[in-house]
């Protein structure tokens, strides 16, 4: 009983930390992005203000039950993703609900939020929303392929589907990281990570210039606030996941921060340099070179 309570408390702490970390990281990255654009950029704490503002909206409209549930599903997806990834290896507080086979669950949760969101957006009735949803799901299906291949490669490399064990296997020096032991899987994974974070060049789903702004077109007020909170958690979860998969995880908070920051920075560096693909182009892209790399990675592991 006591153990459960402690676990719950740890979970809450972990969630609290990752939420704030996600928000601050988002704010920081906005500043980095601003830097390349030759400007100063928004304050680091701007995401907090935006969320506060959205939650303080006096009115809000909803388009049916599913519209309510969309953000909830999304949040559930974000939370689910995070809660099954050990954020800091060996830490009692940040190890979350890691168990053997959690990698599969995590992959499922990454999908889950999107699907829930798709249902909610579809209910909103705005034509841009289903357009965005169809683009988002199509693109997601595409980037899942190299991602899944990369995961398969990694999993077969270390013969485990537990993230904790994956991390454990990568301990003991930088050369033990999957990034070095299985670079092809890393490359495939990191390319699909670009699609997963929906930064350029794979941002067509939420592109303001094309269909403003895709699925969340009708989302407002606290719905949007919830989505933003979730985005921070989800972002954090994904970063931690990739850190765990390819970059040896983290044994303490500091190394987690450094590593996730660099991984995030990588997406920003690519994002600021490229325009975005159309959906069909990005699907073709993911099913092309990254998939081949992924297959190669798997094949190499199989050999």
């Amino acid at each position: 009983m006591n153990a459960i309570l402690t676990k719950a408390l740890y979970t809450l702490i972990s969630l609290f930390v990752i939420t704030n970390y996600g928000l601050l990281l988002g704010g920081t990255m906005a500043r980095v992005r601003a830097k390349v654009q030759g400007r100063i950029g928004q304050p680091v704490w701007q995401p907090y203000l935006d969320i506060l503002k959205n939650n303080f909206k006096r009115t809000g409209i909803y388009h049916g039950v599913m519209f309510y549930l969309g953000p909830v599903f999304r949040l559930a997806g974000g939370l689910g993703t995070y809660l099954f990834i050990p954020a800091v290896y060996g830490s009692a507080v940040f190890s979350n609900f890691s168990f053997s086979g959690d990698l599969l669950l995590v992959m499922y949760f990454i999908f889950f939020g999107q699907l829930g969101m798709a249902l909610g957006a579809g209910q909103s009735g705005h034509p841009y929303s289903p357009l965005g949803v169809s683009r988002g799901l199509a693109q997601m299906t595409a980037f899942e392929v190299p991602f899944a291949l990369a995961v398969i490669a990694v999993a077969s490399q270390h013969q485990t589907l537990s993230i904790t064990e994956l991390v454990a296997a990568q301990q003991g020096g930088i050369l033990n990281w999957v990034a070095f032991t299985n670079p092809l899987a890393m490359i495939a994974g990191m390319i699909s990570f670009l699609g997963m974070t929906m930064g350029n060049p794979f941002s067509v789903v939420i592109a303001p210039q094309e269909i403003p702004i895709g699925p969340p077109t009708e989302m407002q007020s606290s719905f949007l606030g919830m989505l933003q909170t979730n985005r921070a958690i989800f972002q954090g979860a994904k970063l931690v996941l990739f850190m765990n998969l390819f970059f040896g995880g983290a044994t303490n908070i500091v190394s987690m921060v450094v590593k996730t920051f660099l991984i995030y920075l990588y997406t920003v560096v690519v994002g600021a340099s490229f325009p975005r693909f159309r959906t069909d182009q990005s699907i073709r892209f993911f099913l092309g070179v990254p998939t081949l790399i992924g297959i190669a990675a798997v094949v190499i592991q199989m050999l």
Partner: protein, 395 residues
């Protein structure tokens, strides 16, 4: 923004099949979706809208709607004296108002038989080229932004702002310069102006070089732009296409060379053309013309006469009667042929002033033709690649 009720009542779009009398695309079939892109839409240049029928991600019908910025300039000018039209005309095109000022002044001067001092001609050319530079800079940002490359947009709009600073110093206004007045220009260049222009040009050149690297040699940009919205040379006359849009298809047309006005015959430059006729070719034309514009400004600063009047006294503008007559004056603006057709009936008020903006054909007829069978994500990029400004369509 979809508006079912409004559409069902008002628009006959998509068009009805002549044979069956039914809509070619049955929206209720669920196969097609009608969406409005604009007027409240970041992917639209200015305030206009596209009514799109899409099938999946593919546009199968496009109809442009204009008139959101209609102010009735031509009507207003019919009840204003010539000098009172002068502040009005520059508003017809916001990003590049100087062409309106120049053409209005040139038309009025031609009708009234007024010769402009030589220095004014140089100053006018200088402002026109600076306006071209500013407009192109903003366009480059727009084109990059339409494909999602916000970084370039941030740079170029900033660079444009430095050009606006120059305008502000010269004329006292950032956006609406109201500098070219019938009879000449309104003021001399400030002291040390040429140097500040040069400084700005150097800065812009550096950024342009960066942009060339980052945008024109960008795999993703190429992928998006190459083959998008192809204008074949045969379409050019058919659709009345002018300017960089025509030059992007390899047609050598430039009013600055064909019908030289102001001091363009004393400047050294070539018509820039590219083959391909797609968005990428048009982008290349404009990138090169931006550089050309910088070169022209440098040439002018070098060759410009230092002494002499810049304004020739007009008859009292409060009751200036322009003799009866009609004329059409045109100039090459960033988007193509810009023209003023002016008819005077000998009174203080113009009888008719018609403004011919290049966007008129580019944004309506041409866009409706080119947008068919493109991906919906590309409509914004296509629209921008035609470089249209709605105010000159509806005026």
């Amino acid at each position: 923004m979809v508006d079912v009720k409004q559409n069902s009542q008002r628009s006959k779009f998509p068009p009805v099949d002549a044979v069956t009398g039914k809509s070619r695309y049955n929206l209720l079939s669920g196969k097609y979706l009608k969406i409005w892109q604009g007027p409240q839409h970041p992917g639209i240049t200015g305030n206009m809208s596209l009514e799109l029928t899409v099938c999946g991600d593919e546009v199968i019908e496009c109809k442009t709607h204009v008139g959101y910025l209609h102010r009735g300039f031509e009507k207003l000018m019919e009840r204003r004296k010539y000098i009172q039209c002068f502040p009005l005309v520059c508003r017809i095109c916001v990003p590049e108002p100087d062409f309106n000022e120049y053409l209005f002044a040139a038309g009025a001067e031609e009708l009234a038989g007024i010769e402009v001092p030589e220095k004014a001609l140089w100053y006018r050319t200088l402002t026109l080229e600076m306006a071209r530079l500013a407009s192109f800079l903003m366009w480059i940002g727009g084109q990059a932004g339409a494909f999602g490359m916000a970084t370039i947009g941030q740079w170029t709009v900033t660079m444009r702002d430095y050009v606006l600073d120059l305008f502000e110093e010269l004329s006292g206004g950032r956006i609406y310069h109201m500098y070219i007045i019938p009879g000449g220009v309104r003021s001399d260049l400030p002291a040390g102006y040429a140097r500040r222009v040069e400084d700005t040009l150097v800065m812009i050149e550096k950024v342009l070089k960066d942009i060339d690297l980052a945008m024109m040699h960008n795999a993703v940009f190429k992928k998006r732009a190459v083959g998008l919205g192809v204008i074949t040379p045969g379409m050019v006359d058919e659709y009345g296409i002018t300017g960089p849009n025509a030059r992007g298809s390899g047609i050598r047309r430039d009013i600055r060379k064909d019908l030289p006005y102001l001091v363009y015959d004393q400047l050294d430059f070539d018509i820039i053309t590219e083959e391909g006729g797609d968005a990428y070719a048009r982008t290349r034309v404009r990138m090169r013309e931006t550089a050309q514009s910088i070169d022209l400004i440098r040439q002018m600063l070098r060759k410009m006469p230092a002494e002499g009047p810049f304004f020739r006294k007009l008859p009292n503008v409060l009751h200036w009667k322009v003799p009866t007559g009609q004329t059409y004056v045109q100039a090459e603006c960033t988007r193509g042929e810009y023209g003023f057709f002016m008819v005077s009936d000998g009174t203080e008020l113009p009888r008719r002033i018609y403004v011919r903006g290049p966007s008129y054909t580019h944004a309506v007829t041409l866009m409706e033709r080119l947008a068919v069978h493109v991906n919906i994500a590309d409509t914004a990029g296509l629209m921008v690649s035609l470089h249209t400004y709605p105010p000159e369509i509806e005026r």
